[in-house]
């Protein structure tokens, strides 16, 4: 190999200025907020209608009502039977993705640009006038119950669900999955679904993000035509306080026979998406497990030990403080060692000051990845929806680099002590304990 010249590492010029979209925003007479971010290049439009109708608003005792409603909007309306609605969407080449999270319900419609007008009409039809046909309601109910059973065939899901339950308890919406519980899904009457829709699928409190290739004037016209007759405000959702964590270090073990791996979750409470510490906490988390390979957890468990395919940690966004979890799956035989190593990394971040170089690296990684986050219509829609959903300042993404830059090593220690306190974390293992 000696004949091949060794080139010096390249010297890089200054990074490109981020091009963060500055969407047009307006509010329709009925209160529906619109965020419009047109950009040419990809002949696609992503529409995301976001409603304050997530599982946090599930009517007691019917956990799962919000999820059923979210999926039934695509199963027939006052003017279009289910088959007719499906045939129209399919002929347009549209894709409908209903999604119900803890805080919000969303109807996402992905369209080819040339079908914008028809697509907006069908989106409005689904949001405003679902008919909840008996036949389809019972089918979706049965499918949801089957999906719940199938979900528990997978140890990773069992670990996720158990960790959330341990951290938030059964009385907090974040403690149970957003798709609900078996009893809730089984027992919720169709009338309760209709009532839920009537109370929460309202323009006041909801918003629509459009991103991709479209004519803004055409979008406005189409929205005015399709949504004009919609009215009213969504009922507010009350969130109970999360249970206090603390005291003894907790460990929950769920044996899983013949498991090839153990699923490990180390979980605690995080912070609301609007918390002024969100970015400081995010940078701190990035150091620990923001990347499955280069974070401290991945570097230790995967790169150094070869125990796992990856390890990572993350904060979940929430209207109220959400969760934080460090997660991995390891060879059963090293389960105990892996939990200990993860706890060691978690403690180390709280107890030993991080050095400037490591923090510099994390900041650069986060700041300079900004251009990638706005590359596609789906990416743009997602980032703008976050700003709108949580009521963040409109300049959030413009300010993002400076906010990251401002994070100090002291901030990291403070965040780690606040969120990664071993006494307020629960360890969940699904698999073997060796």
């Amino acid at each position: 190999m000696s004949e091949i010249v060794v080139l010096p590492p390249p010297r890089l010029g200054p990074p490109p200025a981020p091009r963060v979209p500055h969407p047009a925003r307006w509010t329709m007479a009925n209160g529906l907020r619109i965020v419009s971010a047109p950009r040419h290049g990809v002949p696609q439009v992503v529409l995301r209608l976001v409603l304050p109708a997530g599982s946090a608003a599930d009517p007691a005792p019917y956990a799962g009502a919000a999820s059923l409603v979210g999926h039934l909007v695509a199963e027939g309306t006052a003017t279009l039977a289910a088959e007719e609605l499906h045939a129209r969407l399919d002929l347009l080449g549209a894709a409908v993705h209903p999604h119900v999270g803890h805080d919000f319900a969303e109807i996402e419609l992905v369209l080819l640009s040339e079908t914008l007008r028809e697509g907006v009409g069908l989106l409005a039809e689904m949001a405003m006038r679902p008919s909840f046909p008996e036949h389809e309601t019972e089918r979706i109910r049965a499918e949801s119950l089957d999906a719940l059973v199938a979900r528990h065939d997978e140890p990773a899901n069992v670990a996720d669900d158990r960790a959330a339950l341990e951290v938030f308890g059964p009385d907090h919406p974040y403690g149970i999955p957003s798709f609900g519980t078996e009893a809730g899904i089984r027992e919720v009457p169709r009338e309760a679904l209709i009532a839920f829709h009537a109370a929460r699928y309202r323009p006041g409190g909801s918003f629509l993000v459009a991103a991709g290739e479209f004519d803004p004037a055409e979008l406005r016209e189409a929205l005015d035509a399709a949504f004009a007759s919609w009215s009213g405000d969504a009922e507010p959702t009350a969130y109970p306080p999360a249970p206090p964590l603390g005291g003894e270090e907790r460990m929950v073990f769920v044996p899983w026979e013949e498991s090839a791996q153990s699923e490990i979750r180390i979980a605690g409470q995080g912070l609301a998406r609007t918390d002024p510490d969100w970015i400081r906490a995010g940078v701190t988390n990035f150091l620990l497990g923001g990347s499955t390979i280069t974070g401290r957890l991945g570097a230790n468990l995967r790169e150094d030990k070869g125990w796992t395919y990856g390890a990572r940690s993350l904060f979940s966004a929430g209207v109220v403080p959400g969760g934080w979890v460090a997660e991995t799956a390891v060879d059963v035989g090293v389960t105990r060692d892996a939990v200990n190593e993860m706890m060691r990394e978690i403690r180390r971040l709280a107890e030993e000051p991080v050095d400037e170089a490591e923090l510099r690296r994390a900041k650069d990684a986060l700041m300079l990845s900004l251009p990638r986050m706005f590359e596609t219509p789906a990416g743009v829609a997602s980032r703008l929806a976050t700003v709108e959903a949580y009521g963040l300042p409109h300049e959030w993404w413009d300010r993002f680099p400076d906010a990251v830059e401002a994070v100090t090593t002291e901030d990291v220690g403070r965040m780690a002590r606040r969120h990664f306190d071993p006494q307020r974390l629960v360890r969940v293992v699904v698999g073997g304990w060796r």
């Binding site: 990074p15 490109p16 089918r139 065939d153 090839a260 395919y309 300079l368």
Partner: protein, 441 residues
Amino acid sequence: MTDTTEATTALRLPVRTHTLANGMRIVCHEDRAAPIVAVHLMYRVGSRHETPGRTGLAHLLEHLMFEGSLHAPKGQFDDLLERVGGTNNGSTWLDRTNYFETVPSHAVELPLWLERDRMAFFLPVLTSEMLEVQRGVVMNERRQAYENRPYGMADERLHQMLFGDAHPYSWPTIGYMADLERITLDDARGFYSTYYTPGNAVLVFAGDISADEAAALAERYFGDLPHGPPIPPFTPPADPAPAAAVSREAMGDDVSFPRVYQAWAVPGYGTREWVALDVLAYLLADGDSSRLQRALIREGRLSQDVDTYLYPTALCGVWGIVTTARTGIAPERLEAAIRRVLDDVVANGVTDDEVLGAARRVRRDQVGDLATVEERAESLAYAATVLGEPEALERVLETYGEVTPDEVRRAAARWLDAGRGATLVVVPAEGASQDGEAGDE
């Protein structure tokens, strides 16, 4: 009804190509929409180039390639790219192995420098310690993604059934556990030296860069590397689309619902029949009004889900259906319902509207997939690797707008015959073996 009735024009992916003196092919697709560049290096080698007894070698080598090279030691590859805001990964499949980075445009030279180093200076750092750690990671990847996952072993068995043990598409890219244990340092060295050469690679730039700049950078970072030894000839199996070696089998797994997997070997990626079969896949199961969605889910109420797929692979394509039974439904009923739908397509054909809608849904997904420069680079690299030139991608995309209902019917009749397909039924079995042994039928 809709205002638009045409299956709109194909996507345009303009490229400029040239070949370096050492045989490495260079492709540039300029698109200034975002200040980022995707760099995609694809080697024409995949799991099909392995030999039985050493399966998983191509993928294990891909893992080793991230463990450092002489001037960018362990940890630096991910670290250097992440700290400039870039992302990177690699993947191994049946026909190819790829390495790709997406970076803000100021940092485009960094992935080139790193790829050069591991194309030229990888062997000096390849050690048995490195092999052992990555062997462990890959074994955990196999456990996590296959063995410890419900239905995780189905695809592996389905492909064995469809192709028989000798066909190079019969084994999984992750490899068999016993083979992973067997792979030696010499195996890894030999595989690298044989296939990881400029003459066996295509390098694609996509994004915020001009073709001239890309050409100059390619010359600077790769122009002086030697071509490498000639690639050993690959003898494709005599019949690219054999009749299934085993036509039906049941396998026990620790799951709650039976799931039916069916697959057929069909013509390879890029052929007109392949495109017709892709339209058929969308026509049958993508969208709630599609025939399998109606027969199995909405009207039939037999299944929880149904999906069809078509592999864009070179030796032949693989066309498949996967569907999961609802509570109390026997898998045989799903199989019978699928057969009725396929027989009806063959006997009575499909409609213009069905083909139009399916072609639009394909295009919707293609537009979505090709929205990122990373995906564009990969698709162009794949066309160059499997179809011979990146420009072939546009021709494949155009063909979707030309496929007729009769072509769809004929492709179904010719290729999706009951006797040529493999059916694997995964059935619930308490404490089922995790290593994929077949259960009782």
